[in-house]
Symmetry: C2
């Protein structure tokens, strides 16, 4: 299994295209995407062909569907993908069964990372979670994934959903905490720049620790109510205050040595 | 103003001691701390003397009080610090007035970073927020701070409280999101290791962006209710569910282009 077509032109499609183009033993033969501008751009980045025409879908061993979660089923149904080919979607929280049963060789190929247009990332440390309709296909997908990453992990749909949820906390929610920090800094006449060293060190410290719990700092873990009351008095927005209180309470509860 | 005594032996005291010991034009003359073991350890790291005896407090131009927020006033009151010396505490959310008024030259010297025992950090990008009882003292503290950091910012107590609150979100709360991610990953039989690449990239991406809002990803910012419902069904703990819903709602509300 070495000829691969990527279907889609979003952030994940671009990152996969970069990684596949650079991998030994794999051939990225086509980016298939409806959005011509983005499709051409991703194809240019990866040095391969683009097509938006279903009739021109290239023959391949593996079709990786990297489209929005909701579009997986419809895209797999609509495109003239050969029924004997392997078809995998790349979404963290979509069941494998979203791919129509007419594909006997269906699976999931989920790289857990946050991807951004135009931003290259090192794929080797990114965990890739795999699921497949047969043990044979799982072994084939493992071989492909190992050419991209050092961490290839089989995971059925339920396990993968949990992993995706973990990623939402560690990535999406953490990023929102940076954004709320920025908002508060702005209320003090300062911009996000003032928080950059702190954000970088917080992540570096957690990554160097056995567990982020071991390096938790701040008033909540100390049970410092005086500081928390000063903070609460500074927050006018009710939802932000609720976030402050709920997270503080949870830090305190989960850090207590009972 | 070049002879400095640090009072305290916690994480911030250690980081300040490292930075002062390495700075040109400043002399760290003593670590004064009640906890002998930690006091000696910090003094060893910084290559200076330790004392726990109030009668042996060394003469200096500046006394930096790096103790717990609640202990600032009592420590400043109790120790035989010469009334003519400059005395500054290092706490983000403690008013300058916690230092007794008998010190005409009192101030605040707050480096905004998360510090950990045994972990060296580069002090140059760390913002140091200063407050002082007189313009003359502010200028003197600025000169000291500039020997440690490239970002020295005057901030009265109210502004500093807001900055400290911003830091709690961007650091303490972000770290707790990593910890919750770890907890969920463990429920899927995986440890924190699987999240490290994601945590590192999330922080790096935010730091490289103009604003963390620009790089927000995930189901909440897309308004993807299907995925959110799948996630909510996986969360048994009521407080974790509340955190999931409140943060998701806030990401959606604050990202909508109205």
């Amino acid at each position: 299994m070495n000829r691969v077509v990527i279907i889609g032109s979003g952030n994940l499609a671009e990152a996969l295209a970069r990684a596949l183009a650079a991998a030994r033993g794999l051939q990225l033969v086509q980016i298939h995407a409806r959005n011509e501008e983005r499709g051409r751009e991703v194809a240019r980045i990866a040095g391969c062909a683009w097509s938006g025409d279903p009739a021109a879908l290239a023959p391949a061993d593996l079709y990786l569907i990297a489209v929005s979660d909701r579009a997986v089923a419809e895209v797999a149904e609509r495109l003239p993908i050969p029924h004997g080919a392997a078809v995998a979607h790349t979404a963290g929280s979509v069941p494998m069964e979203a791919i129509p049963a007419k594909f006997a060789r269906r699976g999931v190929f989920y790289p857990m990372q946050t991807f951004t247009k135009g931003r290259a990332v090192d794929f080797r440390p990114i965990p890739i979670f795999l699921e497949a309709s047969t043990p044979e296909l799982l072994a084939e997908l493992e071989e492909v994934a190992q050419r991209l990453s050092d961490r290839v992990i089989p995971a059925d749909s339920e396990r993968r959903s949990k992993i995706h949820l973990a990623a939402v906390f560690a990535c999406n929610f953490a990023n929102h905490m940076y954004a709320l920090g920025e908002e508060i800094a702005r209320s003090a006449g300062l911009d996000f720049d003032v928080l950059r060293a702190l954000v970088a060190e917080t992540a570096a410290k957690a990554c160097d620790a056995a567990s982020p719990r071991d390096v938790q700092t701040g008033p909540a873990v100390r049970g410092d109510r005086t500081t928390q009351e000063r903070h609460e008095a500074l927050i006018a927005d009710p939802r932000m205050k609720e976030i402050y209180q709920t997270i503080s309470q949870n830090i305190w509860e989960t850090s207590r040595k009972i």
